[in-house]
């Protein structure tokens, strides 16, 4: 079965088909979630919750060919909510956590810079560079015109450049 057929089978109640579908993208989902949540366990929970939510909402997906974009959107929405919730509950831990986890990877400076971006700029960077998604696909996930995605990527890169150059120590 190809992806579209899997979606149609899953929509008519085939749980095995649904499982195969999610398995196609589970690593992608994990990577995106990690970019947002910066915590292995929470990223895994995001994968779990996205699986659950998409399973419950699957019948509402009208165009099977857009399954991946649709799924990614559910994940991103979850991550954003989760970030907001975390900010509300433990504002003190927020910075600390970023610091701790970032120290595990080398590219601290750029990671910091990405975290500082406005949400829409962050979305496009994550999807473009960490998910290697093409502009039209990103447009589908974020539900906006391709032109907008292009200009957001441009502005996001500009901001990254500024913040990396601005803080000379981190410059590479």
């Amino acid at each position: 079965m190809n992806e579209e057929e899997l979606v149609i089978a899953a929509q008519s109640g085939d749980n095995e088909a649904f499982y195969s579908l999610i398995s196609l993208y589970s690593e992608n989902l994990y990577n995106i979630a990690y970019c947002y949540l910066k915590d292995q366990h929470e990223a895994l929970e995001a994968v779990q919750e996205t699986t659950c939510r998409s399973y419950l909402k699957l019948k509402k997906l009208k165009q099977p060919q857009y399954f991946k974009s649709w799924l990614t959107r559910i994940l991103i929405n979850y991550c954003i909510d989760e970030q907001k919730r975390r900010k509300k509950i433990v504002p003190i831990f927020q910075d600390k956590q970023v610091e701790e986890d970032s120290s595990k990877v080398e590219n601290m400076a750029i990671e910091f810079a990405i975290n500082e971006l406005e949400p829409k700029y962050k979305h496009v960077i994550v999807l473009r560079y960490f998910q290697d998604m093409a502009i039209p696909d990103i447009a589908k996930v974020l539900d906006c015109p391709e032109g907008t995605v292009k200009s957001w990527i441009h502005r996001a890169l500009q901001q990254l450049k500024n913040s990396l150059n601005g803080e000379g120590d981190f410059n590479v």
Partner: protein
């Protein structure tokens, strides 16, 4: 123009790909799917009960002399509406309340801005059910029951098993008052006191996540109560019938010794012949049936049985005490059981291998260790349609290692079936010095013996 930035981004991408991928993503996909399936089913049941409620309403409108439902019955008694959600699954308890077999206690104590009320209690000679509420008058969050102790007049703890469902776990800053229920399972050799003394300890957590719990959250205060018991009355309410009939299924002999009927439940004493070649785990469909065909099933949401020893067990059913049927029978048709010589599973920890797997249903997928805890992950093949909604708790919590030392399990997790496979994890505490191989005793397994039986109780 952005060459440096793009290079950095690609480098970061590569780093993340290399470093950060856990190997158990799939496990979380399965959990998510299981959760989805469960939620969907729940919402379907809800829909169905809405339709059922609509139907009942229609019946009420069209006929004046309708039989009042249980929910309607309790809403006529002020203050009892809240009980419906706790006992709606147990028709024996419903009928106890309809027959006014419930004590209104309504005694409350306030400490640290939290008022605990013991609202009502149902107590007979077999068990007690305590309905309580917690009200937040201060600035608390996730308040849950830490412990409820029951004592006699001398301050000695009752010889009884106490159980309560999962934590209420709701933010009490938002919901000021919450209800809960605790069951006390009296043992045969326990003397029921004239007064039961209750001590409640509470815990106040900042989040709902049980992984973040610690000792400091337990509040210092003790909320104390007394519940009077009418011993004479409850003793007279218990009826015992000698049964002493045995059944023989696929060569296995099972003796049903006696049946005790009290308002909260029916208890049946069972003995498995020690010469049986198979170990009996559970009955699939054991139930009581009266002369008109009405049935009472075993208790599933609560304490379902007491194990006395290897070959003796007490099984509990929903009570028909107030129905008092003329004829009563015990029926069943299939029992989960496995050859005794196969009912111990040997695990080679070093090579992550099972040295035997009964009927090839069980496989060991992973062993993980941290500090002193060891977790064993298994896959269990479950292909019988009867097990569609059942999760197997496969092993006993007592684990023996090769030196003969017994370790206690810190708990187990079981999943529902996905593609006819259930995942089961057993956690062993304080296992630094554990010596391979380990011996695990099966407590339940998807193998069956079958044969219909019907025994007359009265």
């Amino acid at each position: 123009m952005f060459d440096t930035e793009e290079r950095e981004l690609n480098k970061l991408n590569q780093t993340m790909k290399d470093v950060l991928k856990p190997d158990n993503i799939d496990e979380y996909v399965k959990k998510g799917l299981a959760l989805g399936i469960k939620k969907k089913r729940k919402s379907q049941i809800k829909k169905f009960s809405n339709i059922a409620a609509a139907l009942i309403l229609v019946i009420f409108i069209s006929s004046i002399r309708a039989i009042p439902t249980f929910a309607e019955f309790v809403t006529r008694i002020p203050g009892l509406e809240y009980i419906v959600k706790f006992i709606n699954y147990d028709k024996g308890l419903k009928s106890a309340i309809e027959n006014n077999f419930i004590q209104h206690i309504n005694s409350y104590v306030t400490h640290e801005g939290l008022t605990v009320t013991i609202k009502d209690a149902i107590i007979d000679s077999s068990k007690g059910i305590i309905f309580y509420s917690i009200e937040n008058k201060g600035s608390h969050h996730f308040v849950n029951l830490e412990n409820m102790k029951f004592m006699d007049e001398k301050g000695e703890q009752l010889k009884a098993g106490v159980s309560w469902g999962g934590a209420i776990n709701k933010d009490m800053a938002l919901e000021k008052m919450l209800d809960g229920m605790v069951e006390i399972n009296f043992t045969d050799d326990m003397i029921i006191p004239d007064k039961i003394f209750v001590e409640v300890k509470l815990r106040d957590s900042a989040t709902s996540n049980p992984d973040h719990r610690n000792q400091e959250e337990i509040l210092n205060s003790v909320w104390k109560f007394e519940i009077p018991v009418d011993k004479e009355k409850i003793r007279n309410m218990e009826k015992t019938y000698a049964l002493n009939q045995s059944i023989l299924i696929e060569g296995q002999r099972i003796l049903f010794k006696n049946v005790t009927i009290s308002p909260t439940r029916v208890s049946i004493n069972v003995e498995y012949d020690k010469n049986n070649s198979k170990k009996i785990f559970r009955f699939d469909d054991l139930k009581l049936i009266d002369e008109k065909g009405e049935t009472w099933s075993t208790i599933k949401n609560g304490i379902s049985g007491s194990i006395i020893d290897e070959n003796h067990e007490i099984l509990y059913f929903q009570s028909n005490y107030f129905k008092d049927p003329k004829g009563l029978y015990l029926t069943g048709s299939s029992i989960r059981a496995l050859d005794k010589d196969k009912s111990t599973v040997k695990v080679d920890v070093e090579n992550i291998k099972l040295l035997n797997s009964p009927k090839d249903r069980l496989s060991l997928t992973k062993i993980s260790r941290n500090d002193s805890t060891m977790t064993l992950d298994f896959d269990l093949k479950v292909d019988d349609p009867r097990d569609k909604d059942y999760s197997y708790n496969v092993f006993s919590y007592y684990i023996k290692d090769s030196s003969g030392k017994v370790y206690e399990s810190g708990g187990a997790r079981c999943s529902s079936s996905i593609d006819q496979v259930q995942q089961y994890s057993l956690i062993i505490n304080k296992s630094q010095n554990i010596k391979s191989p380990l011996y695990l005793t099966l407590e339940d397994y998807p193998e069956r013996i079958e044969g219909e039986f019907k025994l007359k109780i009265k």
